[in-house]
Symmetry: C2
Subunit: 335 residues, 2 copies
Amino acid sequence: MDTLSTFLQAMRPALEQALQEAVRPWQEPPLLGAMVQHHFGWQDPKARRGKRVRPFLLLLTHEAAGGNWRQALPAAVAVELIHNFSLIHDDIQDQSPTRRGRETVWHRWGAAQAINAGDALFALAFAQMGGLEAHFPPARVVEAVNVLARACLALVQGQVLDLAFEDRDQVPLEAYWRMVRGKTAALLAAATDLAALLAGVDAARRQAFRTFGERLGMAFQVWDDYLGIWGDPARTGKPVADDILARKKSFPVLYGLARPESPFAQRWRDPAPFTPEEARQMARWLEAMGAKEHTLQTTRRLTQEALDALHQARPQEPAASALEALALSLVGRQT
Amino acid sequence: MDTLSTFLQAMRPALEQALQEAVRPWQEPPLLGAMVQHHFGWQDPKARRGKRVRPFLLLLTHEAAGGNWRQALPAAVAVELIHNFSLIHDDIQDQSPTRRGRETVWHRWGAAQAINAGDALFALAFAQMGGLEAHFPPARVVEAVNVLARACLALVQGQVLDLAFEDRDQVPLEAYWRMVRGKTAALLAAATDLAALLAGVDAARRQAFRTFGERLGMAFQVWDDYLGIWGDPARTGKPVADDILARKKSFPVLYGLARPESPFAQRWRDPAPFTPEEARQMARWLEAMGAKEHTLQTTRRLTQEALDALHQARPQEPAASALEALALSLVGRQT
């Protein structure tokens, strides 16, 4: 078994247990408990669950920075809770009917109660942070709370931009990066930053670990945008060119819209909904314009920047290799 | 000038400045800044603002517990930010079109972006807490974060119950108190608890200060329920018997519904909307049943319990007198 799998095999049950223990005392009123259980897929052993990317990234980084991953579990749980708070609120905002193959919380219980379910996970995340005091000096825990709170703010800022893009004809690439830095990269950056901070590394190494998480988050988002158009439906569980059908202003789409005379941009400006066949045609136009290749190259460049930052951070083995493997697995290098 | 006014005259500008400074670095994207400015009424010097009950309660309690109120400002700001996060989300959930005489955030910018505005204030509250480290030992700050996070959870739990009550014919009084303990009392209890914790008083005094805030919060809610039916429209800015028109299951209404054969309960069960005249008749029926007197007596009893707890906490003068005056002003004794 490779190093990453060995780590994950130990970490996964510990993380799941810590996550469930964090939530368990707050099952009242039963409706709140039911929404949270349903969201996490805990009411059904066969339900699809999250991949836990952020907490694993945090735990592996903590090891690579010289810590013991078990001690960082409360921070890993907090980061996963924040991620899930944002998913529950995102689904309301995007009016998404399903997630992980089941009904979204708002679709089942209404938007009003779903807002509460998200808020509860938000609060639970901060209630977790006190648990770090068992192993870390309190001043470091206060700093960790601050890092987490700032990541939440950046996350919300990214989400404000993302929603605002829907009403705009054009989105400059610079605005796209600002959105991604908040919406996706901020929480991955916080995960590696918290891990390094808690391990007590010096400021330069901590910054390098943080940059590793941030660049990885950006690469992850661009790769997700790639999959939203050219992903294999059998693997993504979504139709071909799904992001075009949904008119999502993703990275490849912005590449196409930046060439306003292209057939792609002309058809996009026509507000008529796309048929599936048109969406496939749009994807082919984008590819012919070079958007597919440019998207892949951008993911590769950001991933390389992430790995360069990781090396600068002088991560310790064996976690270093596991971390590199986790990073590459997130951006589709294994396929 | 009385003691309370003297304190408030010093505290108000310091609090407003700290609140605005907390929010200022997070004005990006401009839409987020605009929503927050509008909510607080900062874009217009004549706009109505909040009464800042919770932060003043915290600052006065901190003085009464032997502290210096200026040092507790970050906690006061955090508590006010949490209160305003909950108002923004409440207004979405209740679909309220106005607050403090102006349009609510969701009504102006849509529910999706209003969710973000609330989430941003939530995160900002926790980002404030690190500022306490300038004057307090870090272990105490970690404990304060924990108190605040648990208050947020209780707040959300109360809100889940409150929304769920709308779909129920009957609400037992026990469930009403559970709702109020979360929705209103939890944040006032957290305000006095944080104040005492930061001042470093012993566990018994801290608990007494906390009980003071909690009972005051419960009294405050019952008094608010009283005003929702029998308040003077010239003072509340709302029509007579407004809570009956809105079919809110407030304390006096539950008193009436507990007597299912009464004309009040019979008419309530008829789903036809109330005319203003009918609502006034319902209020008179409630009064004749003894609901008005019982509501007043309950406020008085809870206020007395709050003041008893305050005396047990052995508060220091001159803040002690100011705190008592603030408490009485919240439950209408001055009228």
